[in-house]
Protein backbone atom coordinates (compact mmCIF):
# COMPACT_ATOMS: atom_id res chain seq x y z
CA UNK A 1 0.00 0.00 0.00
CA UNK A 2 1.29 3.43 -0.99
CA UNK A 3 -0.22 6.81 -1.73
CA UNK A 4 1.05 7.63 -5.20
CA UNK A 5 0.49 10.41 -7.72
CA UNK A 6 -0.65 9.03 -11.05
CA UNK A 7 -1.07 10.99 -14.26
CA UNK A 8 -4.13 10.45 -16.40
CA UNK A 9 -3.10 9.36 -19.90
CA UNK A 10 -6.56 8.82 -21.30
CA UNK A 11 -10.13 8.70 -20.08
CA UNK A 12 -12.65 7.58 -22.64
CA UNK A 13 -16.22 6.37 -22.77
CA UNK A 14 -16.33 2.73 -23.80
CA UNK A 15 -20.02 1.94 -23.20
CA UNK A 16 -23.13 3.53 -21.74
CA UNK A 17 -22.10 5.40 -18.54
CA UNK A 18 -18.85 3.43 -18.58
CA UNK A 19 -15.36 4.91 -18.81
CA UNK A 20 -11.89 3.47 -19.22
CA UNK A 21 -9.17 5.50 -17.53
CA UNK A 22 -5.51 4.76 -18.13
CA UNK A 23 -3.05 6.22 -15.62
CA UNK A 24 0.73 6.29 -15.52
CA UNK A 25 2.64 5.80 -12.27
CA UNK A 26 4.18 3.36 -9.83
CA UNK A 27 2.08 0.18 -9.98
CA UNK A 28 4.43 -1.93 -7.85
CA UNK A 29 1.95 -2.17 -4.97
CA UNK A 30 -0.60 -3.98 -7.12
CA UNK A 31 0.39 -7.57 -6.55
CA UNK A 32 -2.82 -9.45 -7.42
CA UNK A 33 -5.80 -9.19 -9.72
CA UNK A 34 -8.96 -8.27 -7.86
CA UNK A 35 -7.23 -5.58 -5.81
CA UNK A 36 -8.46 -1.99 -5.89
CA UNK A 37 -7.22 1.57 -5.57
CA UNK A 38 -8.73 4.49 -3.65
CA UNK A 39 -8.73 7.78 -5.54
CA UNK A 40 -8.71 11.30 -4.07
CA UNK A 41 -10.82 13.74 -6.07
CA UNK A 42 -10.74 17.50 -5.53
CA UNK A 43 -13.88 18.69 -3.78
CA UNK A 44 -14.89 15.31 -2.37
CA UNK A 45 -14.06 14.25 1.15
CA UNK A 46 -13.99 10.49 0.82
CA UNK A 47 -11.92 8.70 -1.77
CA UNK A 48 -13.42 6.60 -4.59
CA UNK A 49 -12.55 2.90 -4.46
CA UNK A 50 -12.18 1.47 -8.00
CA UNK A 51 -11.13 -2.05 -8.92
CA UNK A 52 -8.01 -2.62 -10.97
CA UNK A 53 -8.74 -3.73 -14.54
CA UNK A 54 -5.11 -4.02 -15.56
CA UNK A 55 -1.67 -3.02 -14.28
CA UNK A 56 1.27 -3.50 -16.59
CA UNK A 57 4.33 -1.57 -17.83
CA UNK A 58 3.78 1.36 -15.44
CA UNK A 59 0.20 1.77 -16.59
CA UNK A 60 -2.89 1.32 -14.49
CA UNK A 61 -6.22 0.74 -16.24
CA UNK A 62 -9.43 1.42 -14.35
CA UNK A 63 -12.96 1.03 -15.66
CA UNK A 64 -15.72 2.78 -13.78
CA UNK A 65 -19.41 3.43 -14.15
CA UNK A 66 -20.83 6.87 -13.51
CA UNK A 67 -23.07 6.26 -10.53
CA UNK A 68 -22.83 9.50 -8.55
CA UNK A 69 -21.23 12.94 -8.35
CA UNK A 70 -17.70 11.65 -7.80
CA UNK A 71 -17.62 9.32 -10.79
CA UNK A 72 -19.38 12.00 -12.88
CA UNK A 73 -16.49 14.31 -12.04
CA UNK A 74 -14.01 11.59 -13.01
CA UNK A 75 -15.76 11.25 -16.37
CA UNK A 76 -14.84 14.90 -17.12
CA UNK A 77 -11.10 14.16 -17.04
CA UNK A 78 -9.43 14.54 -20.42
CA UNK A 79 -5.83 13.52 -19.71
CA UNK A 80 -2.89 15.20 -18.00
CA UNK A 81 -4.64 15.38 -14.62
CA UNK A 82 -2.68 14.30 -11.56
CA UNK A 83 -4.52 12.03 -9.14
CA UNK A 84 -3.53 10.91 -5.65
CA UNK A 85 -4.13 7.17 -5.59
CA UNK A 86 -3.83 4.85 -2.62
CA UNK A 87 -2.64 1.78 -4.45
CA UNK A 88 -2.51 -1.94 -3.81
CA UNK A 89 -5.56 -2.32 -1.57
CA UNK A 90 -7.38 -5.55 -0.73
CA UNK A 91 -6.38 -9.18 -0.98
CA UNK A 92 -7.20 -9.97 -4.61
CA UNK A 93 -7.87 -13.32 -6.24
CA UNK A 94 -5.87 -16.41 -5.37
CA UNK A 95 -4.86 -18.13 -8.60
CA UNK A 96 -3.48 -21.25 -6.96
CA UNK A 97 -6.83 -23.05 -6.85
CA UNK A 98 -8.00 -22.32 -10.39
CA UNK A 99 -7.48 -25.75 -11.92
CA UNK A 100 -7.02 -26.02 -15.69
CA UNK A 101 -10.37 -24.63 -16.78
CA UNK A 102 -11.43 -21.78 -14.50
CA UNK A 103 -14.64 -19.89 -15.20
CA UNK A 104 -14.60 -16.11 -14.83
CA UNK A 105 -17.97 -14.42 -14.32
CA UNK A 106 -18.21 -10.63 -14.34
CA UNK A 107 -21.36 -8.53 -14.21
CA UNK A 108 -21.41 -4.84 -15.25
CA UNK A 109 -18.89 -2.92 -13.16
CA UNK A 110 -17.68 -6.33 -11.96
CA UNK A 111 -16.21 -7.14 -15.39
CA UNK A 112 -12.96 -5.08 -15.08
CA UNK A 113 -11.14 -7.17 -12.43
CA UNK A 114 -11.80 -10.27 -14.56
CA UNK A 115 -9.54 -8.88 -17.28
CA UNK A 116 -6.29 -8.85 -15.31
CA UNK A 117 -7.26 -12.16 -13.73
CA UNK A 118 -7.87 -13.70 -17.16
CA UNK A 119 -4.53 -12.43 -18.40
CA UNK A 120 -2.69 -13.90 -15.42
CA UNK A 121 -4.43 -17.26 -15.72
CA UNK A 122 -3.61 -17.52 -19.41
CA UNK A 123 0.01 -16.60 -18.64
CA UNK A 124 0.03 -19.56 -16.28
CA UNK A 125 -1.14 -21.84 -19.09
CA UNK A 126 -4.75 -22.18 -17.93
CA UNK A 127 -7.73 -22.24 -20.26
CA UNK A 128 -10.28 -19.86 -18.76
CA UNK A 129 -13.82 -19.34 -20.01
CA UNK A 130 -15.40 -15.95 -19.41
CA UNK A 131 -19.01 -14.89 -18.94
CA UNK A 132 -19.69 -11.16 -19.12
CA UNK A 133 -23.15 -10.01 -18.05
CA UNK A 134 -24.75 -6.67 -18.92
CA UNK A 135 -28.19 -5.08 -19.08
CA UNK A 136 -28.23 -4.49 -22.81
CA UNK A 137 -25.92 -4.26 -25.85
CA UNK A 138 -25.06 -0.56 -25.31
CA UNK A 139 -23.51 -1.45 -21.94
CA UNK A 140 -21.25 -4.19 -23.26
CA UNK A 141 -17.49 -3.58 -23.07
CA UNK A 142 -14.23 -5.54 -23.33
CA UNK A 143 -15.76 -8.54 -25.14
CA UNK A 144 -13.14 -8.32 -27.89
CA UNK A 145 -10.36 -7.73 -25.32
CA UNK A 146 -11.14 -11.02 -23.58
CA UNK A 147 -11.39 -12.78 -26.94
CA UNK A 148 -8.01 -11.31 -27.92
CA UNK A 149 -6.50 -12.87 -24.79
CA UNK A 150 -7.69 -16.21 -26.12
CA UNK A 151 -10.44 -16.86 -23.60
CA UNK A 152 -13.70 -18.48 -24.67
CA UNK A 153 -16.04 -15.54 -24.04
CA UNK A 154 -19.80 -15.50 -23.57
CA UNK A 155 -21.87 -12.34 -23.28
CA UNK A 156 -25.28 -12.21 -21.65
CA UNK A 157 -27.71 -9.30 -21.73
CA UNK A 158 -30.90 -9.04 -19.72
CA UNK A 159 -32.86 -7.76 -22.73
CA UNK A 160 -31.25 -10.16 -25.19
CA UNK A 161 -29.87 -7.38 -27.41
CA UNK A 162 -26.46 -9.10 -27.46
CA UNK A 163 -25.34 -12.66 -26.74
CA UNK A 164 -27.37 -14.95 -24.53
CA UNK A 165 -30.64 -13.43 -23.31
CA UNK A 166 -30.80 -13.44 -19.52
CA UNK A 167 -28.33 -13.39 -16.64
CA UNK A 168 -24.78 -14.69 -16.31
CA UNK A 169 -26.20 -17.82 -14.70
CA UNK A 170 -27.95 -18.60 -18.00
CA UNK A 171 -24.52 -19.12 -19.57
CA UNK A 172 -22.99 -21.14 -16.76
CA UNK A 173 -23.67 -24.57 -18.31
CA UNK A 174 -20.04 -24.95 -19.32
CA UNK A 175 -17.41 -27.26 -17.93
CA UNK A 176 -15.19 -25.58 -15.34
CA UNK A 177 -12.70 -26.54 -12.65
CA UNK A 178 -13.19 -23.52 -10.37
CA UNK A 179 -14.70 -20.06 -10.70
CA UNK A 180 -14.02 -16.40 -9.97
CA UNK A 181 -16.74 -13.77 -9.93
CA UNK A 182 -17.38 -10.08 -9.35
CA UNK A 183 -20.59 -8.12 -9.77
CA UNK A 184 -23.69 -6.85 -7.99
CA UNK A 185 -24.64 -8.84 -4.90
CA UNK A 186 -27.84 -10.44 -6.33
CA UNK A 187 -25.71 -11.77 -9.19
CA UNK A 188 -23.10 -13.12 -6.79
CA UNK A 189 -25.82 -14.91 -4.84
CA UNK A 190 -27.24 -16.43 -8.06
CA UNK A 191 -23.76 -17.59 -9.09
CA UNK A 192 -23.24 -19.05 -5.62
CA UNK A 193 -26.48 -21.03 -5.90
CA UNK A 194 -25.84 -22.30 -9.43
CA UNK A 195 -22.13 -23.07 -9.12
CA UNK A 196 -21.01 -26.68 -8.88
CA UNK A 197 -17.42 -26.08 -7.74
CA UNK A 198 -15.66 -23.93 -5.19
CA UNK A 199 -14.87 -20.35 -6.17
CA UNK A 200 -14.01 -16.83 -5.15
CA UNK A 201 -16.32 -13.80 -4.93
CA UNK A 202 -15.38 -10.13 -4.93
CA UNK A 203 -17.71 -7.94 -2.87
CA UNK A 204 -18.50 -4.27 -2.89
CA UNK A 205 -19.38 -2.06 0.08
CA UNK A 206 -19.36 1.63 0.95
CA UNK A 207 -15.96 2.32 2.48
CA UNK A 208 -14.51 4.95 4.74
CA UNK A 209 -10.77 4.40 4.49
CA UNK A 210 -10.14 1.42 2.18
CA UNK A 211 -7.28 0.04 4.27
CA UNK A 212 -8.89 -1.60 7.28
CA UNK A 213 -8.94 1.17 9.86
CA UNK A 214 -12.52 2.40 10.16
CA UNK A 215 -14.60 -0.80 10.19
CA UNK A 216 -17.03 0.87 7.81
CA UNK A 217 -17.29 -2.08 5.42
CA UNK A 218 -17.43 -5.05 7.78
CA UNK A 219 -19.31 -8.24 7.02
CA UNK A 220 -19.93 -11.49 8.85
CA UNK A 221 -18.43 -14.68 7.42
CA UNK A 222 -18.23 -18.26 8.59
CA UNK A 223 -14.58 -17.52 9.37
CA UNK A 224 -15.45 -14.50 11.55
CA UNK A 225 -15.95 -10.79 10.93
CA UNK A 226 -14.10 -9.46 7.92
CA UNK A 227 -13.41 -6.04 6.45
CA UNK A 228 -14.28 -5.98 2.75
CA UNK A 229 -11.47 -3.49 2.10
CA UNK A 230 -8.66 -5.27 3.92
CA UNK A 231 -9.56 -8.95 4.44
CA UNK A 232 -11.51 -8.85 1.14
CA UNK A 233 -12.82 -7.78 -1.28
CA UNK A 234 -12.37 -11.42 -2.33
CA UNK A 235 -14.01 -14.06 -0.14
CA UNK A 236 -14.07 -17.80 -0.81
CA UNK A 237 -17.36 -19.59 -1.39
CA UNK A 238 -17.08 -21.65 1.78
CA UNK A 239 -16.98 -18.67 4.14
CA UNK A 240 -19.82 -16.56 2.73
CA UNK A 241 -22.97 -15.94 4.75
CA UNK A 242 -25.74 -14.42 2.62
Amino acid sequence: MKDIIFEVISNKKIAKNTYECVLAGDISDITASGQFVNIKLDGYYLRRPISVCDAEDGKLTLIYKVVGKGTAKMAEMTGGEKLLVLSGLGNGYDLAKSGDKPLLIGGGAGVPPMYMLCKKLIAEGKKPSVILGFGSADEVFYREKFEALGAKTYVTTVDGSEGVKGFVTDAMDVEYSYFYTCGPEPMLKAVYDKSTTSGQFSFEERMGCGFGACMGCSCKTKYGNKRICKDGPVLVKEEIIW
Binding site: M1, Y45, L46, G208, F211
Partner: protein
Amino acid sequence: MVNTKISLCGIEIDNPIIPASGTFGYGKEFNEFYDINILGSFSFKGTTKDPRFGNATPRIAETEGGMLNSVGLQNPGVEKVISEELPALKKFFHKPVMANVSGFAIEDYAYTCEKLDGEEQVGWIEVNISCPNVHGGGMSFGTDAKNAAEVTKAVKKVTTKPIIIKLTPNVTDIAEIAKAVEDAGADGVSLINTLSGMRINMAKRKPLLANVTGGLSGPCTFPVALRCVWQVYNAVKIPIVGMGGVTTAEDVIEMMMAGATAVQVGAANLVDPYACKKIIEELPAAMEKYRIGSLEEIIGGAH
Protein backbone atom coordinates in the same frame (compact mmCIF):
# COMPACT_ATOMS: atom_id res chain seq x y z
CA MET B 1 14.19 24.97 18.05
CA VAL B 2 10.54 24.74 18.93
CA ASN B 3 9.23 22.54 21.72
CA THR B 4 6.24 20.36 20.86
CA LYS B 5 6.21 18.42 24.14
CA ILE B 6 3.14 18.62 26.33
CA SER B 7 2.05 16.95 29.53
CA LEU B 8 -1.36 15.27 29.54
CA CYS B 9 -2.62 14.32 33.01
CA GLY B 10 0.97 13.97 34.24
CA ILE B 11 2.30 11.98 31.28
CA GLU B 12 4.69 13.88 29.04
CA ILE B 13 4.31 13.18 25.32
CA ASP B 14 6.53 14.25 22.42
CA ASN B 15 3.76 16.16 20.68
CA PRO B 16 0.05 16.72 21.23
CA ILE B 17 -1.04 14.68 18.19
CA ILE B 18 -3.22 11.70 19.07
CA PRO B 19 -5.21 9.82 16.40
CA ALA B 20 -8.80 9.58 17.57
CA SER B 21 -10.53 6.39 18.57
CA GLY B 22 -12.34 4.60 15.78
CA THR B 23 -10.11 5.99 13.06
CA PHE B 24 -6.91 4.16 13.96
CA GLY B 25 -7.92 0.61 14.90
CA TYR B 26 -5.34 -0.84 17.30
CA GLY B 27 -2.52 0.79 15.35
CA LYS B 28 -1.30 -1.95 13.03
CA GLU B 29 -2.92 -0.78 9.78
CA PHE B 30 -1.20 2.62 10.09
CA ASN B 31 2.13 1.12 11.08
CA GLU B 32 2.17 -0.32 7.55
CA PHE B 33 2.27 3.27 6.25
CA TYR B 34 4.68 4.89 8.74
CA ASP B 35 6.37 4.29 12.09
CA ILE B 36 3.59 5.33 14.45
CA ASN B 37 6.10 6.00 17.26
CA ILE B 38 6.26 9.58 15.93
CA LEU B 39 2.78 10.16 17.41
CA GLY B 40 2.20 11.66 20.84
CA SER B 41 0.00 8.63 21.46
CA PHE B 42 -3.13 7.20 19.88
CA SER B 43 -6.56 6.33 21.19
CA PHE B 44 -7.44 2.78 20.26
CA LYS B 45 -10.73 1.50 18.87
CA GLY B 46 -13.66 1.85 21.27
CA THR B 47 -13.60 -1.32 23.35
CA THR B 48 -16.54 -2.89 25.17
CA LYS B 49 -16.95 -5.70 27.69
CA ASP B 50 -18.25 -8.13 25.06
CA PRO B 51 -17.31 -8.43 21.37
CA ARG B 52 -19.54 -6.40 19.03
CA PHE B 53 -20.15 -6.62 15.30
CA GLY B 54 -21.79 -3.20 15.22
CA ASN B 55 -24.50 -1.93 12.91
CA ALA B 56 -25.67 -3.14 9.51
CA THR B 57 -24.03 -1.69 6.39
CA PRO B 58 -23.96 0.82 4.74
CA ARG B 59 -22.19 2.41 7.68
CA ILE B 60 -20.48 5.21 5.78
CA ALA B 61 -21.87 8.20 3.88
CA GLU B 62 -20.14 11.21 2.39
CA THR B 63 -21.12 14.78 3.20
CA GLU B 64 -19.87 18.21 2.17
CA GLY B 65 -16.54 18.60 3.94
CA GLY B 66 -16.86 15.43 5.96
CA MET B 67 -18.50 12.08 6.45
CA LEU B 68 -21.07 10.19 8.46
CA ASN B 69 -20.38 6.86 10.12
CA SER B 70 -22.62 4.46 11.96
CA VAL B 71 -20.13 1.69 12.69
CA GLY B 72 -21.67 1.08 16.10
CA LEU B 73 -18.59 0.20 18.15
CA GLN B 74 -17.45 -2.92 16.33
CA ASN B 75 -14.65 -4.39 18.44
CA PRO B 76 -13.36 -7.78 19.58
CA GLY B 77 -14.22 -7.23 23.25
CA VAL B 78 -11.86 -6.38 26.11
CA GLU B 79 -10.57 -9.95 26.68
CA LYS B 80 -9.30 -10.22 23.11
CA VAL B 81 -7.94 -6.69 23.16
CA ILE B 82 -5.84 -7.68 26.17
CA SER B 83 -4.85 -11.14 24.92
CA GLU B 84 -4.21 -10.25 21.25
CA GLU B 85 -4.24 -6.56 20.31
CA LEU B 86 -2.13 -5.15 23.14
CA PRO B 87 0.63 -7.81 22.93
CA ALA B 88 0.76 -7.19 19.16
CA LEU B 89 0.87 -3.42 19.68
CA LYS B 90 3.73 -3.66 22.16
CA LYS B 91 5.96 -5.02 19.41
CA PHE B 92 5.76 -1.90 17.23
CA PHE B 93 4.54 0.93 19.50
CA HIS B 94 6.68 1.88 22.45
CA LYS B 95 4.69 4.69 24.05
CA PRO B 96 1.70 4.85 26.37
CA VAL B 97 -1.53 4.25 24.48
CA MET B 98 -4.91 5.76 25.26
CA ALA B 99 -7.46 3.02 25.94
CA ASN B 100 -10.92 3.96 24.69
CA VAL B 101 -13.79 2.29 26.52
CA SER B 102 -17.51 2.21 25.86
CA GLY B 103 -20.41 0.47 27.52
CA PHE B 104 -24.13 0.02 27.94
CA ALA B 105 -24.40 0.04 31.71
CA ILE B 106 -22.31 1.60 34.46
CA GLU B 107 -21.08 -1.86 35.49
CA ASP B 108 -19.85 -2.51 31.89
CA TYR B 109 -17.77 0.65 31.96
CA ALA B 110 -16.31 -0.21 35.35
CA TYR B 111 -15.53 -3.80 34.28
CA THR B 112 -13.77 -2.83 31.05
CA CYS B 113 -11.87 0.08 32.57
CA GLU B 114 -10.66 -2.03 35.50
CA LYS B 115 -9.34 -4.68 33.09
CA LEU B 116 -7.51 -2.15 30.92
CA ASP B 117 -6.19 -0.26 33.95
CA GLY B 118 -4.05 -3.32 34.67
CA GLU B 119 -2.34 -3.17 31.28
CA GLU B 120 1.15 -1.71 31.40
CA GLN B 121 1.02 0.10 28.06
CA VAL B 122 -2.24 1.89 28.83
CA GLY B 123 -1.38 5.47 29.77
CA TRP B 124 -4.84 6.98 29.98
CA ILE B 125 -8.35 5.59 29.81
CA GLU B 126 -10.71 7.57 27.61
CA VAL B 127 -14.28 6.78 28.58
CA ASN B 128 -16.70 7.25 25.70
CA ILE B 129 -20.05 8.32 27.11
CA SER B 130 -20.97 9.90 23.81
CA CYS B 131 -21.24 7.39 20.96
CA PRO B 132 -24.22 8.47 18.84
CA ASN B 133 -24.45 5.15 16.99
CA VAL B 134 -25.51 2.64 19.62
CA HIS B 135 -28.88 2.42 21.19
CA GLY B 136 -29.52 2.04 24.89
CA GLY B 137 -26.06 3.19 25.88
CA GLY B 138 -23.19 5.43 24.96
CA MET B 139 -24.63 8.82 24.39
CA SER B 140 -27.43 8.42 26.90
CA PHE B 141 -24.80 8.66 29.66
CA GLY B 142 -23.20 11.67 28.07
CA THR B 143 -26.32 13.77 27.59
CA ASP B 144 -27.21 13.94 31.26
CA ALA B 145 -24.91 15.55 33.80
CA LYS B 146 -25.97 13.22 36.61
CA ASN B 147 -25.48 10.04 34.57
CA ALA B 148 -22.15 11.31 33.26
CA ALA B 149 -20.98 11.92 36.82
CA GLU B 150 -22.09 8.45 37.91
CA VAL B 151 -20.11 6.71 35.16
CA THR B 152 -17.09 8.81 36.08
CA LYS B 153 -17.34 7.92 39.76
CA ALA B 154 -17.79 4.22 39.06
CA VAL B 155 -14.78 4.14 36.76
CA LYS B 156 -12.58 6.20 39.06
CA LYS B 157 -13.32 3.80 41.91
CA VAL B 158 -11.73 0.82 40.09
CA THR B 159 -8.84 2.49 38.27
CA THR B 160 -5.49 4.09 39.00
CA LYS B 161 -4.70 5.67 35.63
CA PRO B 162 -5.89 9.07 34.42
CA ILE B 163 -9.53 8.97 33.34
CA ILE B 164 -10.51 11.16 30.41
CA ILE B 165 -14.24 11.40 29.75
CA LYS B 166 -15.20 11.79 26.08
CA LEU B 167 -18.12 14.14 25.65
CA THR B 168 -20.82 14.53 23.04
CA PRO B 169 -21.66 17.86 21.42
CA ASN B 170 -25.26 16.71 21.00
CA VAL B 171 -26.34 18.49 24.18
CA THR B 172 -27.68 21.90 25.14
CA ASP B 173 -24.71 22.80 27.33
CA ILE B 174 -21.52 20.77 27.00
CA ALA B 175 -19.78 22.84 29.69
CA GLU B 176 -22.33 21.68 32.27
CA ILE B 177 -21.53 18.02 31.51
CA ALA B 178 -17.79 18.74 31.61
CA LYS B 179 -18.14 20.40 35.00
CA ALA B 180 -20.17 17.46 36.31
CA VAL B 181 -17.52 14.90 35.33
CA GLU B 182 -14.75 17.11 36.73
CA ASP B 183 -16.60 17.28 40.05
CA ALA B 184 -17.00 13.48 39.93
CA GLY B 185 -13.23 13.04 39.72
CA ALA B 186 -12.39 12.95 36.00
CA ASP B 187 -8.73 13.72 35.27
CA GLY B 188 -9.53 15.18 31.85
CA VAL B 189 -12.19 15.52 29.19
CA SER B 190 -12.02 14.93 25.46
CA LEU B 191 -14.36 16.54 22.95
CA ILE B 192 -16.13 16.49 20.65
CA ASN B 193 -17.46 13.11 19.64
CA THR B 194 -19.32 13.16 16.33
CA LEU B 195 -22.42 15.23 15.67
CA SER B 196 -25.60 13.29 15.02
CA GLY B 197 -26.65 13.56 11.37
CA MET B 198 -28.12 11.77 8.36
CA ARG B 199 -28.36 11.64 4.56
CA ILE B 200 -31.06 10.31 2.25
CA ASN B 201 -30.64 8.27 -0.92
CA MET B 202 -33.12 10.16 -3.06
CA ALA B 203 -33.35 7.54 -5.80
CA LYS B 204 -34.32 4.89 -3.26
CA ARG B 205 -36.23 7.33 -1.00
CA LYS B 206 -34.46 5.77 1.97
CA PRO B 207 -31.84 6.91 4.49
CA LEU B 208 -28.32 6.29 3.16
CA LEU B 209 -27.15 4.67 6.37
CA ALA B 210 -28.70 1.38 7.43
CA ASN B 211 -28.76 2.79 10.96
CA VAL B 212 -30.66 5.88 9.62
CA THR B 213 -28.49 8.31 11.61
CA GLY B 214 -24.75 8.49 12.03
CA GLY B 215 -22.00 10.62 13.46
CA LEU B 216 -20.71 13.56 11.43
CA SER B 217 -16.96 14.12 11.40
CA GLY B 218 -14.39 15.84 9.21
CA PRO B 219 -13.40 19.47 8.58
CA CYS B 220 -17.03 20.66 8.54
CA THR B 221 -17.20 20.00 12.30
CA PHE B 222 -14.08 22.02 13.22
CA PRO B 223 -15.79 25.32 14.18
CA VAL B 224 -18.33 23.48 16.34
CA ALA B 225 -15.53 21.55 18.07
CA LEU B 226 -13.54 24.71 18.61
CA ARG B 227 -16.54 26.45 20.18
CA CYS B 228 -17.13 23.49 22.51
CA VAL B 229 -13.48 23.40 23.61
CA TRP B 230 -13.63 27.13 24.23
CA GLN B 231 -16.74 26.82 26.41
CA VAL B 232 -15.44 23.82 28.34
CA TYR B 233 -12.10 25.57 28.97
CA ASN B 234 -14.04 28.33 30.66
CA ALA B 235 -15.85 25.83 32.87
CA VAL B 236 -13.22 23.33 34.06
CA LYS B 237 -9.63 23.21 35.30
CA ILE B 238 -8.79 19.66 34.12
CA PRO B 239 -7.02 19.26 30.77
CA ILE B 240 -9.03 19.10 27.56
CA VAL B 241 -8.24 16.85 24.61
CA GLY B 242 -9.71 18.74 21.65
CA MET B 243 -10.91 17.08 18.49
CA GLY B 244 -13.32 17.54 15.60
CA GLY B 245 -12.24 18.11 12.02
CA VAL B 246 -8.56 18.71 12.76
CA THR B 247 -6.67 18.30 9.49
CA THR B 248 -3.61 20.57 9.58
CA ALA B 249 -0.91 21.77 11.97
CA GLU B 250 -2.65 25.16 12.04
CA ASP B 251 -5.87 23.47 13.17
CA VAL B 252 -3.88 21.96 16.05
CA ILE B 253 -2.59 25.37 17.10
CA GLU B 254 -6.06 26.90 16.85
CA MET B 255 -7.54 24.07 18.91
CA MET B 256 -4.86 24.53 21.58
CA MET B 257 -5.41 28.28 21.70
CA ALA B 258 -9.10 27.54 22.35
CA GLY B 259 -8.08 25.48 25.37
CA ALA B 260 -6.93 22.01 24.31
CA THR B 261 -3.86 20.48 25.96
CA ALA B 262 -3.69 17.70 23.35
CA VAL B 263 -5.43 17.29 20.03
CA GLN B 264 -6.97 14.24 18.46
CA VAL B 265 -7.17 13.72 14.72
CA GLY B 266 -10.00 11.53 13.46
CA ALA B 267 -11.57 11.42 10.01
CA ALA B 268 -8.43 12.89 8.41
CA ASN B 269 -6.66 9.56 8.99
CA LEU B 270 -9.23 7.76 6.87
CA VAL B 271 -8.92 9.93 3.78
CA ASP B 272 -5.15 10.29 4.14
CA PRO B 273 -3.35 7.53 6.06
CA TYR B 274 -0.37 9.87 6.43
CA ALA B 275 -2.47 12.74 7.90
CA CYS B 276 -0.95 12.63 11.41
CA LYS B 277 2.57 12.20 10.09
CA LYS B 278 2.12 15.28 7.91
CA ILE B 279 0.66 17.31 10.80
CA ILE B 280 3.60 16.38 13.05
CA GLU B 281 6.08 17.28 10.32
CA GLU B 282 4.35 20.59 9.61
CA LEU B 283 3.97 21.56 13.27
CA PRO B 284 7.41 23.22 13.81
CA ALA B 285 7.00 25.51 10.79
CA ALA B 286 3.46 26.43 11.83
CA MET B 287 4.73 27.19 15.34
CA GLU B 288 7.44 29.45 13.96
CA LYS B 289 4.88 31.23 11.78
CA TYR B 290 2.89 32.18 14.89
CA ARG B 291 6.05 32.75 16.98
CA ILE B 292 5.36 29.88 19.34
CA GLY B 293 8.41 28.58 21.19
CA SER B 294 6.67 25.89 23.19
CA LEU B 295 3.20 24.45 22.57
CA GLU B 296 2.46 24.28 26.30
CA GLU B 297 2.44 28.08 26.46
CA ILE B 298 -0.45 28.46 24.00
CA ILE B 299 -3.00 26.23 25.75
CA GLY B 300 -6.07 28.42 26.18
CA GLY B 301 -4.00 31.30 24.89
CA ALA B 302 -6.88 32.94 23.03
CA HIS B 303 -8.92 33.45 26.20
